[in-house]
């Protein structure tokens, strides 16, 4: 979230789209009800289904699954054509006045630079035009035909209300009603918040859906504002922490990135990440990249990391491609990956195309599962009748299971969607032989290190030199790990303002990442977590909820990264002169000599407004990007592409380019995509409140509340197919089938799309062949093996099925 849970209460308009907050985040959803009760907020839900969120919404807006860019693109067109912008904000805080290089084009569904064979773009034209001073050129009148605002207008002029309605199936008058409502927040004292979740991320164009919402918010001046922002509601209690710590194949902790295979030169690696400012006087915070990186290497490799060996840069793996979960299973399927560690993860249940996964797992030599539960993945080789019809005799994979603790059985911190690291204490001892994950990994590591010591190996250095100074080596304590992430001084740190004084003594915990150095005198395991465990103690365990502004930014409650800041980009809540746009949303302000206020300013504390530094300090140009330059795989402006399995078989905007041209598709999966003539219905998968993923089917109460697998269909489709509520039905995709009970509902209505009627089939995911709820089919038997072009998050939300009475 750019903002945080409590801040939702400050919004005037709340749009839940690409998510179902009431269903999947019922506790956080209370802030929506607070906004309605105390701020008289209007609450809108945009979704293919009339959801539990819609049940308490002021306005429900249907749209076809996978068409959110078309919808939001239409909103952009509405705002631009009716001039409903926060003008001053757009001019000063976005790249609307920036001039784009000659050569940039968009024609017939493709941006300039497309390489069809490689399914990628040469992005060199997706850039600003440089002026004689080397900086990006601007036209503050925003009239230049190649300035971002004009290109934006041109790009979205195709997204007329009629086009939106034709693609999304949203009735035209309802769409305009939403536009009007959104437009009311273009004034400085009204804000809109977007709440989304995996209903946006899980599409082949997921990242661009989120970007479109961000663009709408920039045009309205709602980024950095209390009650504004673009807010990802994360689906696990600690999934935010997982991304923060870099548990992705291409990431290092704190969103630092691994080098690519061509990046063998340390200086060039740093140079490519510590961007040069694109405008004069900008903070361009990533210029500090090397400080974060060196401190990370010092944290990992201690004295072994020196300036002379480039802080062990050569020890880092160099990526030839990203090894996301689809890639991993593809390689496993090809027999090229033969051992797999599966920790706190149930891929057989939660990755698309179960048939492919089963085949892939069966080709492994060994599979290690670390989990508190008896997961389907760890039992993929067992025959469970129709629910898992495999022949154990033909599967040779050795499966090793190691029972781990669950969150309530250990101390630690959970990072919520609002980036708060909240410490918690163990509530019960673990059962049986279950051990904390850290202890299991430590055991494996110590054993490996021992083998490397005794037997040597191809490349023992990183293993032998890894810092491992925990009190009990086989059981690192959560407290020790937390301190390591925070970082410490490895030498006395001189005060930059007065070198005679030391700000920290050797061995002391850092106060925050501001103290990080690139000379090896600091260590820090995750720079954005720095400040979480200082010399004052565990900041994550703080529980002071005093709220002097009334806006809910309780700075004494837990710790929020970065730097305990609650609302990102909060400098943008003030006008260029440093005065809050809205006196009732006073987060920070310039007091004449410094930035101060009720939140930690997201800005250089002593940079006077007259210096002209932009509020988006992580960007080299200091402003928010309506035009994304080369940062997205499929284009600098989001464009509507159909899901890989589209119910209308075309793209009404450009029939020659139907799907995301930059999405990675493995050759064998192409043939596994269904066509609408065989699989005529748009399907979407989702969670329901009674359950949490594939876990709570192991608990009695959740299983009582929703005991058996079901699918949801509308009354019209049910009638067409002769299906009654309570009937058993078979739902089939190109990749397999499931059987479930039919819930027939008024809440799913047929939509009129491009001259056709599109029915949706809703598929809750929670059942499987393990646990105490009634056994069911893994829903991901049905879903397609393709992901977002930037993140590779699978397209769970839009695919095609057929349905019949079982």
């Amino acid at each position: 979230m750019t903002n945080h849970w409590v801040d939702i209460k400050n919004a005037n308009v709340i749009i839940v789209m690409g998510g179902n907050a009431a269903e999947a985040h019922p506790c956080g959803f209370k802030w929506v009800t607070e906004a309605k009760a105390h701020n008289h907020a209007t609450f809108v839900v945009v979704d293919p289904r009339f959801t539990r969120s819609a049940a308490v919404a002021d306005l429900y807006v249907p749209l076809r699954t996978g068409t959110d860019i078309a919808f939001l693109g239409g909103v952009i067109n509405y705002l631009l054509s009716r001039d409903k912008l926060q003008h001053e904000y757009v001019k000063a805080y976005t790249n609307a006045p920036f001039i784009v290089k000659e050569g940039y084009e968009f024609n017939d569904g493709l941006f300039s630079g497309y390489d069809e064979a490689a399914r990628t773009y040469d992005k060199s034209t997706w850039a600003y035009e440089a002026g004689p001073d080397g900086y990006a050129r601007l036209d503050v009148t925003m009239q230049h035909p190649r300035c971002v605002l004009q290109l934006l207008k041109k790009h979205y002029s195709r997204y007329t209300p009629e086009a939106v309605s034709n693609i999304c199936g949203t009735p035209g008058d309802t769409f305009l009603k939403v536009c009007e409502l959104i437009a009311t927040t273009s004034v400085p004292d009204r804000t809109l918040t977007f709440l989304y979740a995996v209903g946006w991320t899980q599409h082949s164009v997921g990242s661009q859906m989120i970007r479109t919402a961000a663009m709408v918010q920039l045009l309205l001046g709602n980024v950095g504002m209390a009650g504004g922002g673009v807010n990802a509601l994360r689906g696990h209690s600690n999934i935010q922490g997982l991304t923060d710590l870099g548990l992705m194949s291409n990431l290092l902790p704190g969103y630092l990135t691994l080098p690519g295979e061509k990046e063998t030169d340390y200086r060039k690696y740093i140079g490519a990440r510590a961007f040069k400012p694109l405008r004069p006087g900008q903070m361009d915070y990533w210029q500090n990249y090397e400080k974060f990186h060196v401190s990370l290497m010092k944290s990992w490799f201690g004295n072994a990391a020196t300036k002379d060996n480039n802080w062990c840069f050569d020890w880092l793996p160099k990526l030839d491609k990203i090894y996301d979960v689809l890639q991993a299973f593809e390689l496993m399927h090809q027999g090229k990956l033969n051992g797999y560690f599966c920790q706190g993860f149930n891929p057989l249940a939660s990755i698309p195309n179960k048939a492919k996964l089963t085949a892939a797992l069966s080709r492994l030599k060994y599979l290690v599962v670390i989990d508190p539960l008896d997961t389907e993945t760890s039992c993929f080789w067992e025959n469970h009748g129709k629910y898992n019809d495999v022949d154990p005799a033909r599967i040779q994979t050795e499966v090793i299971r190691m029972p781990s603790t669950c969150f309530a059985e250990e101390n630690g911190s959970l990072t919520n969607s609002g980036r708060w690291l909240q410490w918690h204490y163990r509530g019960a001892p673990p059962p049986g032989d279950a051990k904390p994950d850290a202890e299991i990994i430590a055991g494996i590591f110590l054993k490996l290190r021992d083998m490397y010591r005794k037997e040597g190996g191809a490349f023992p250095d990183p293993i032998l030199s890894l810092t491992w100074d925990y009190d009990i080596p086989h059981s690192p304590a959560p407290e020790e790990l937390a301190k390591e992430y925070n970082g410490k001084a490895l030498a006395d740190l001189a005060d930059p303002k007065d070198p005679a004084k030391a700000v920290l003594r050797k061995g002391q915990q850092l106060d925050g990442f501001i103290q990080l150095r690139a000379d090896g005198s600091t260590s820090c395991g995750c720079w954005i977590f720095s400040g979480a465990w200082t010399e004052k103690g565990n900041m994550m365990a703080r529980r002071d909820n005093s709220d002097p502004s009334g806006l809910g930014n309780t700075l004494g409650w837990a710790f929020a990264w970065p730097a305990n800041r609650r609302i990102l980009y909060n400098r943008a809540s003030c006008d260029p002169s440093g005065k809050p746009w809205d006196p009732n949303r006073r987060l920070v302000y310039w007091d004449g000599s410094k930035w101060t206020g009720f939140d930690v300013p997201d800005f250089k504390p002593d940079s006077a407004p007259s210096e002209g530094m932009g509020p988006f300090i992580m960007q080299p140009e200091g402003v928010g990007r309506l035009f994304a330059l080369d940062k997205m795989a499929e284009g600098p402006f989001p464009e509507h592409y159909e899901p890989f399995e589209t119910p209308i078989g075309t793209n009404p905007l450009h029939p020659k380019v139907i799907n995301n041209p930059a999405a990675r598709v493995f050759r064998d999966d192409m043939k596994d995509f269904g066509k609408s003539r065989d699989f005529p219905y748009a399907a979407t998968s989702y969670r329901v409140t009674e359950h949490f993923h594939f876990w709570t089917k192991h608990t009695r109460i959740s299983s009582i509340l929703q005991p058996e697998q079901y699918v949801e269909i509308g009354e019209d489709l049910a009638k067409e197919k002769g299906i009654k509520a309570g009937d058993r039905v078979k739902v089939r995709s190109k990749r397999g089938f499931i059987e479930a009970v039919a819930v027939v509902t008024k809440r799913i209505r047929p939509l009129q799309v491009n001259g056709e009627t599109v029915h949706h089939v809703g598929i809750p995911i929670h059942w499987g062949f393990k646990g105490i709820a009634r056994n069911g089919y893994l829903a991901n038997t049905l879903t397609p093996f393709v992901g977002d072009a930037n993140t590779q998050t699978p397209e769970f939300k839009s695919f095609l099925v057929n349905i019949e009475k079982a």
């Binding site: 009339f50 049940a55 308490v56 009582i704 929703q706 005991p707 509520a725």
Partner: protein, 293 residues
């Protein structure tokens, strides 16, 4: 004496006067249907607190589950998809005991002390006194009490009388993530409900209102309804519930006389119970009851 704040003011089939020395505040659980998202956290909390568990059932083609109140499920969510002037509405009502000021169950109950009402308004079953006759089920205008197949006794929501007695709110109210369930004194709850009704009216629900039906003397579980003029659309919430004429009569005139008969009957039943297990009231009373129906 009952727990602090739980002075019994009424007791089924009893003529002994109730204590009246102390006065506790009347409490209300207010359920705001317009805020409810149907998450069933309250259902889960109810099972957790009261240590009740139904069997893991099946899906019946709807989201409701368990499908009905049972001796183990003292509250269930009722989901209704209704077309109104506003288009489709998904009305989700938490069903359970209404804790009537004038409780039909208590009046109908022939077993002394099996149903009591505290001075704070909570109507509570004392299952150790329950003889399993099921008259309370007939007497309840909301169809709430459920007979257990396991021990032959009747169960329903206690409004967490055990929690309330020590100053805690009911488990469901504590759990509800959206604040759809709130708990407090009747005055405070009415005040809160009025604010909610005003908000709903400002959002175009012209008929929003409070459900606190007079036919049962008002209730200690109240609803805020978006369409208070049509309670029936909320999965058959009765428009004008009242205690049946028979039960009223039974209490008003017949019961003092019948109680003597009952006392004898129950005495008989007691011996019957120790030898043969739980049974019923005297046949005369039973017949009388049936005839009136």
């Amino acid at each position: 004496m009952a727990l602090q704040s739980l002075d019994i003011t009424r007791r089924s089939a009893t003529t002994t006067p109730s204590p009246s020395q102390r006065k506790t505040q009347e409490v209300v659980k207010l359920i705001d249907v317009s805020k409810c998202i149907g998450c069933k956290a309250c259902q889960a909390a109810c099972m957790e607190w009261n240590d009740t568990r139904d069997k893991i059932g099946t899906n019946h083609g709807v989201l409701d589950n368990p499908m009905d109140l049972t001796a183990n499920s003292w509250t269930v969510m009722r989901y209704s998809e209704v077309e109104t002037g506003r288009g489709l509405e998904w009305l989700i009502r938490k069903d359970g005991c209404m804790h009537c000021a004038d409780p039909g169950c208590l009046k109908a109950c022939p077993a002394p002390g099996a149903i009591v009402q505290y001075s704070n308004g909570i109507v509570d079953f004392q299952e150790e006194n329950c003889i399993g006759c099921g008259y309370c089920i007939t007497g309840c205008p909301f169809n709430i009490p459920r007979l257990s197949g396991k021990d032959g006794k009747v169960y329903k929501c206690t409004l967490c009388s055990d929690r309330v007695a020590v100053g805690l709110e009911p488990a469901c109210a504590k759990t509800c993530p959206t604040g759809a369930i709130v708990f407090g004194t009747k005055d405070d709850m009415i005040h809160h409900a009025e604010g909610r009704v005003a908000d709903l009216k400002s959002r175009g629900f012209a008929e929003a209102g409070i459900y606190d039906p007079l036919g049962v003397g008002g209730t200690h579980v109240m609803y805020v309804l978006q369409h208070a003029d049509k309670p029936g659309i909320y999965h058959g919430l009765p428009k004008d519930p009242s205690v049946s004429a028979m039960v009223t009569l039974w209490k008003g005139a017949v019961k003092p006389i019948a109680s003597f008969a009952l006392a004898a009957g129950v005495f008989g039943a007691f011996f019957h119970y120790v030898t043969k297990g739980p049974n019923e009231v005297s046949e005369e009373i039973e017949k009388e009851f049936k005839d009136e129906k």
